[in-house]
Symmetry: C2
Subunit: 464 residues, 2 copies
């Protein structure tokens, strides 16, 4: 394909994608109406409560015209003067949220240390978040205080690039790198918008991303004051110390580089549609495991009643910790991944070369010239009737001894609470009971979503 | 045990060991007579051939009074003026050796590039080695020219310590670290003598050896001119560039440190008797392998008709090379060792965690930002109907593919000539055919020596 015909092809793709992702006029009107209603409600309720110093702020992609067709998210912040004490802020904001909850078709309290509710209203998913009206993004009192500055920055700088943001977001969705929640570890909307502004549009982002390497730094406001060790560093134009791409995982960073490079080589529409994996049947799973010849274990426990962004770091830490525990004990781990269903079970899966090791274990001790350690190693294993052999190899004592953990299951059951680093909520839940699932038990897990997930884990393909 | 009672105990041990290892007067007279006869023969033959410029030199432990009871070795060198050309040296020395061969009860030509014969005479093992009479150990024309200097140095410096050398040698024999042939990798007689002189006797050597570490340097003549990367560096007092301990393996160096330290803690006679392993029966071997739960493979081929010091480095290199080949292909090697019988078979043994791996292999590719390598990796594995999955993990492409080498046997058979570094003589012999032995075939190997060897390899214990 020549450069010119590629350019033409990308133009065609842009047009086609825009057709798909640009919100309709009807959608826009609907959203505008609902949003206005919410803001009016807030003002009315605040006034009735004598809270005349609050200001409702519409933030989020809807506000900056970078929302995708079919996306029904509205974010409204309720800002308070920055000098009121947190106690008062907390109490007063709860008063407004309590009333606002009643205006929704349904609602959910999502506050952790920060008050925050989610309501559903006329088909929209609405986040209502109290915050402080601080002077700048660098002077925030709580994490959410940055958002209004982000929104303002994008509104000011995005003009003329709104459509590029839409196309960029859809490309990221289609290639599986969009979404900054911990579970995904991809690009946030704000990050996507900054990249689009910085590189002047969709093609500019892809061309530059094709050449990114670990540690690439983008400092759009030219005011970085802190080093970051992340795959990608995008200095927040509203806060010189913050990396907007801090939550981007190395895997998603690398995947995006690959997808950008490949798309530019052969621009086709397929990149804009997420690959979907059909649910595999338990019988297909069994057949696949036989073909792989590996062994799968699942550690299953009641999902802790926590938000995904609290839970997933703990699941990932558990994967890593179990992999280390198994590797230390000479099991070979091939893959780990985690499945979690709210109110149901969470399962950490570990795929192993084999779950059974021979009765003999060869243990290397200290070098002979480390006299103190040598003495304790010899005391333990020399002249021990259970050792197979005790000798010196190169500079070290070596004992061939009976293996304590001949199966991965026994190792996990014996050591999971002693040697695995478990997050607080996962540990609490596991203390109430957990199961070690083998293939037969894994086959009993129900639900299309789970079997789609398993299919993706076992047969993932980067396409096109 | 108090320091005094230990000292006393060591005195008792010295006395007891001397009783055992000091040659009897009868032995001494006999050796003196045979040696004198050999020297007389050399002079007589040389004179008859008109070779009046040669000088026979008695070297070796017999000459320096450091030989052990029961040792019947005599070393006599036939020295030539250093300025004669090698051709002439070779021709003339062969003339003498040809005649000397006839004086033995039997004889053997041991020359490689250097002429050299071994004769048996009246129960003695006699080495007859032509050499050049060079000016110093640093000016040698062939490797053997050093020996007369070594002998002279020890004779001059050993006075009063001869008995300590005997005890030292027996301690080294008893602990399995004596002998500088490649197969053993232990201490040579000359090295033992220098250590005894340097540290002032048997106890001095043990006390200092207890505190040796990798890289210990002993420069008795204080004239080192070259760095050596060896566990122990003992600069040759007759050649500043040479390390007398160059052939000492790290394992034997470390073992000696351990043995010295342990003996000084608890001095008992047991250290002076080599541990012997009874031959195990094939049935015991089978039972032991079941207990270990590991798997043993032997690669068996006709022993190349070469001296052990030529053959063993090649066997050791083959062990290392096979271990690397297997490890690269994800097999876990536990032990390797080599057995060799002159005129019969040599067998390189490899003990593995398992000889069978699952059909799936996970292969990590280049980082995405290595565009050239990425392209060839993707070309090979992406959209390949045989891959299980193709994805990105952290910064790298990862393909789950069918494993080519699912058994260690197939890997070895397919790759031994392509990827294993084989010494010339081993390769030549294997090209004529080799077998991969499994447990059943190993059980068919005959000979007490082999089954002692196997017993030692599987049940080695450092004792006391």
């Amino acid at each position: 394909m020549t450069a010119d015909s590629k350019k033409e092809k990308i133009e065609e793709i842009r047009a086609e994608i825009l057709k798909r992702v640009r919100p309709t006029d009807e959608e826009k009107t609907k959203l505008e109406t609902v949003r206005k209603g919410i803001i009016d409600d807030i003002v009315r309720i605040a006034d009735a409560q004598g809270q005349c110093d609050i200001v409702p702020l519409s933030v989020g992609s809807a506000e900056r015209n970078t929302w995708l067709h079919g996306n029904h998210d509205i974010d409204v912040f309720i800002s308070y003067p920055e000098d009121i004490p947190f106690d008062e802020f907390y109490k007063r904001s709860r008063m407004i949220l309590t009333e606002m909850a009643k205006t929704g078709d349904s609602w959910e309290d999502r506050h952790s240390e920060h008050p925050y509710i989610h309501i559903q209203k006329e088909g929209f998913e609405v986040d209502l978040v109290p915050c402080f009206r601080v002077k700048s993004g660098a002077d925030i009192k709580s994490a959410v205080d940055r958002t209004p500055f982000h929104c303002a920055y994008i509104k000011e700088n995005i003009k003329g690039l709104e459509e590029d943001v839409l196309i960029m977001k859809q490309f990221m969705k289609g290639t599986g790198v969009y979404g900054s929640e911990v579970r995904t570890g991809g690009f946030s909307g704000y990050l996507t918008e900054i990249l689009t502004i910085y590189y002047g549009g969709f093609e500019g982002v892809l061309e530059h991303a094709s050449n990114w390497k670990y540690g690439t730094v983008i400092d759009i406001a030219d005011h970085q004051t802190l080093e970051h060790d992340n795959p990608l560093v995008v200095v927040d134009p509203t806060d010189p110390k913050r990396n907007v791409a801090a939550a981007l995982s190395l895997t998603k960073f690398a995947l995006f580089i690959d997808r950008a490079r490949e798309f530019l080589k052969n621009p086709i529409l397929d990149y804009f549609t997420p690959k979907s994996y059909p649910p595999m049947t338990p019988a297909e799973f069994e057949k696949m495991m036989t073909a792989r010849g590996t062994e799968m274990i699942g550690i299953s426990f009641q999902t802790p009643p926590k938000a995904e962004d609290t839970l997933y770091p703990q699941l990932f830490r558990m994967e890593k910790s179990l992999e280390e525990l198994l590797t230390r004990n000479e099991f070979t781990v091939i893959n780990t991944f985690s499945w979690s269903e709210e109110m149901e079970k969470s399962v950490v899966f570990i795929e192993l070369l084999t779950t059974v090791l021979p009765p003999l274990q060869k243990r290397a001790g200290p070098p002979v010239w480390n006299a103190a350690n040598a003495e304790s190693f010899c005391k333990k294993y020399k002249n021990n009737p259970t050792t197979f052999s005790f000798s010196i190899e190169n500079e070290k004592y070596v004992a061939e001894i009976p293996r304590k953990y001949k199966t991965a299951e026994y190792l996990i059951e014996d050591m999971i609470f002693k040697e695995a680093a478990l997050g607080r909520h996962v540990r609490d839940s596991m203390k109430n009971g957990y199961d070690v699932l083998r293939e037969k038990e894994i086959m009993e897990i129900k639900g299309d979503d789970f079997w789609k997930f398993m299919n993706e884990k076992l047969t993932a393909q980067i396409e096109p």
